[in-house]
Subunit: 376 residues, 3 copies
């Protein structure tokens, strides 16, 4: 674990191109356990007894001055003792991440803001606008079905013109999956769908309106982050294989960058899309902390089998608990460094190339896609 | 191969939560070859020349007093010489399995009974009732379409009230795949479907009746074993991805445990379901002996990437030949021990946790789900 | 890297059962880059900065008298200096491939002919007839819709009766994907579809005519190569999972050998089909050079998890640049040898078996399936 690729990635300040804020309140054991799993804390089945729980006890406990593999109770007790701000500070410092692109559109609880995140980390935070949230806010204010299309587009434009916004995001994966008609819907179709939605209420999950949202993203001209693959049980996993986006990717070629998030277990399908469409990029995001350092490399190996090295980005997808900024960064650095260093050691890859690819994936590709300051 | 996790798993008496009996008659070469493959013995393409055949010659030959990698002819000759009972005894002894849950619903030939299996192994055998068999027996006796629903439910209830029954099983994967309407069918729908089935005859493969069967399982209240993924060529592999069960799993949340069997090549999809649904569990069953010890660990690594350690079970899915009780157990023990021990050695996992997870997967999780005696 | 399996595979003259010719003209940088990717040379994203580009610089540069990992500019400059014939000669010599089955049906540019390929390599070249090309030539000549079925069949029969033709190929994957009605279409259906095609023009992508083409392949009686999985962005990856061919494979059991090409990321699904259908074979073809030697073994491990050793073949799928004959052969030899040798070293596989399986996959299985001269 001491080769030059490892050293370079240890020294590299990462760009975390997709994350969220963390809960600012004190957490109960159940509250914490519910935040570290895409499932829940079930009777007799603690999320601590899963790969992510093992990784937290191993890698996060020492940052709270506890021994490696500290028991959950000790971990949570020490965590409570230090308090949210100090815990947050320690994990963000350990993450060595200079730049965060923060999805601010999902906050059932009070979360840290991008500015708070940047302040704690001593870095820079940009904002990612979740378009479903914009659409639902428009609907919540009350809008005539005839006006919905224009009103949503105007609201989205307003939202992305706020300072610091660098991208938009869609959770179409959760709402309809990707078996959508790829074409831009007509005005009449949008009005009709808005009429039904208005009558029915609830979250935006009408296929026509989801398509309209995706095409609105194209019109906005900013990079679009798309949740794909793994998530909570609101996902239908077989319908969020990013390969199902192929027809839409044909139609959007030459427009905005499309960033496939998470992807697991379809990381090879995502790699295929990144290899054959100029505007497609990927990360393994959420997967990193859930599989933990023990398997992050294996997932990255698959994700990188055919992916151009300009197309892989880093994200932690941290949400709720600050541990994940740190665990994601750790799993990514070790996984990528191990993979590249071994290829260098086997003389399958030149060291200067390995160092270049490591910097690209860890920071420069994100700077390039989002137009951030710093090398790209 | 001498770490404490290996030692613990070598010493642990396994619970094999899903297996079958073995053929009691003498087997010809063709008969044996047909039993060790999900394909068949084809001209010029012997099942011995496949990963499972290699594993048998390597790991089972020494138990018949032959050298490792003994040629097929010698293997079969010695096997015949010893006779089925002695062969059965040797492989079951080597399996070090204390408890068997035996699917008794598929027996085109005379197979050992659960009691015979338990007797030979010096262990305990429970029974798993295959619901398609119950339904087909009801139909075979003759039943009015109006009465089919009630008659099947009554027969199923009778079947599971027999002593030693701990679970039910469905092979819906073979009959319709999982692209089913997840809702419980109405009485009228069941009657109408039963009318068609009655007119048509044959095995139960009507989608309405398969749904009715799955919901009958829910009513019975016992754990439900579901074949998913890999099987013989009667499967349509892309239709038995367990992710396609998601809508049904939402509707059945809070009811019975659902055990996804085999899963390959969808072990990651199965892991996702086990991670996000409280009532979902998985094994890699049949896969273990088909890929053999050379690849069992790799498959387990994927199956366990995000699976809570309370959710993985062991099964051999042995059918027909006694070799598979032994090969499954060997592949599982080595694969799991290698995976856990390496994590302990890399200090990614604490030894007490590794030992706990090994016991859970090898025995306790099954005891817990099925309410068997012994630690859970 | 010096065990007896490696030595045997190094010494074995491979049979490359699926490849193409290479461009005979000089190539610009952009021309070369476009040929080494299934995507394209995009601004700021060079195909050299991808796994295949890394593999070329590592393994092909020394064959042009350059240091390992030579920069792209030096590589292309030296390549131009040597000229196409010398470059072709060097890479073919390094491939140590005695026999080529050449798909001659895709040649938007002037490519080397099978005879030229054989001459340069000092080996033998056979031809594979791409049936879509035959059908489109029939249509281009003008044919009444009523006559299309017969005319295509006659033309296909003519084409395969040319000397040296050993197989046919279909790119149905690119035209419709595999969600086809598996049944042979009626004459009336073919006529009706031919009428529409005739009115519409363009390439053959009518589902009825694609089915007719596949059934014509069955009638011809030669082995059928089927593109599955990975390709350029004209593929819809989720629709070319070979498992979707299952119904058609049931109907064609007992007829012609069906060879699944490439397969990635569905190599496990392809392995399943090869394990349960007598007439199904697979390779990982195109995948070998795209993932490069760094990952070829990992892909082969998955492809071989349950595949009978009689069912795996080698192909380079080289197209356009001669580097790929060499890279494919190198990745295959190293990947397979590493996999088998490690199993021998772990005493999981006997050495004589490993040597036999290596010869089968590298050469004999292809000789057997296509009826080529040499051991089978």
């Amino acid at each position: 674990m001491g080769g030059p690729v490892q050293e370079a990635l240890e020294a590299l300040e990462l760009v975390d191109h997709h994350c969220h804020g963390v809960v600012t309140a004190d957490l109960t054991r159940e509250g914490f356990e519910n935040l570290i799993t895409e499932g829940a804390a079930w009777p007799g089945i603690s999320p601590f007894d899963s790969p992510v729980g093992v990784a937290i006890r191993r890698h996060c406990a020492p940052l709270l001055d506890l021994p490696r593999h500290a028991p959950p109770d000790e971990y949570l007790s020490r965590r409570a003792e230090l308090g949210p701000r100090e815990v947050h500070r320690r994990f963000l410092t350990a993450a060595r991440t200079s730049t965060f692109c923060v999805d601010t559109g999902y906050a059932p609880e009070r979360l840290t803001t991008p500015a708070e995140l940047a302040g704690t980390a001593g870095g820079t935070a940009y904002e990612v606008v979740r378009l479903e949230g914009v659409a639902e806010a428009v609907a919540a204010k009350g809008v005539e079905p005839d006006d919905y299309g224009d009103a949503f587009q105007a609201a989205a434009l307003d939202a992305v013109q706020r300072p610091g916004v660098v991208a938009v995001k869609s959770v179409a994966a959760y709402r309809t999956g990707f078996d959508l008609d790829p074409a831009r819907p007509s005005v009449a179709e949008v009005t009709e769908a808005a009429r039904h939605w208005s009558a029915r209420g609830g979250r935006l999950d009408d296929p026509v309106l989801v398509r309209h949202l995706l095409w609105t993203a194209v019109d906005l001209g900013l990079p679009l982050q798309l949740h794909t693959g793994f998530g909570d049980n609101d996902i239908r996993l077989h319908r969020v294989d990013p390969a199902r986006l192929t027809d839409w990717l044909h139609l959007t070629t030459g427009t905005i960058p499309v960033l496939l998030l998470h992807c697991w277990p379809y990381q090879r399908q995502a790699a295929y899309l990144a290899a054959v469409f100029e505007h497609v990029y990927l990360d393994v995001g959420l997967t990193l902390h859930h599989v933990g350092p023990a398997r992050a490399r294996a997932v990255l190996e698959e994700a990188m089998e055919i992916t151009p090295f300009r197309k892989l980005l880093y994200s932690s997808d941290a949400y709720g608990v600050a541990e994940f900024y740190c665990l994601g960064a750790l799993a990514f650095r070790r996984g990528l460094a191990g993979l590249l260093q071994d290829r260098v050691d086997a003389d399958e890859l030149g060291l200067p190339d390995a160092l270049r690819f490591a910097e690209w994936a860890g920071a420069h590709n994100a700077s390039r896609v989002y137009g951030l300051s710093g090398p790209s």
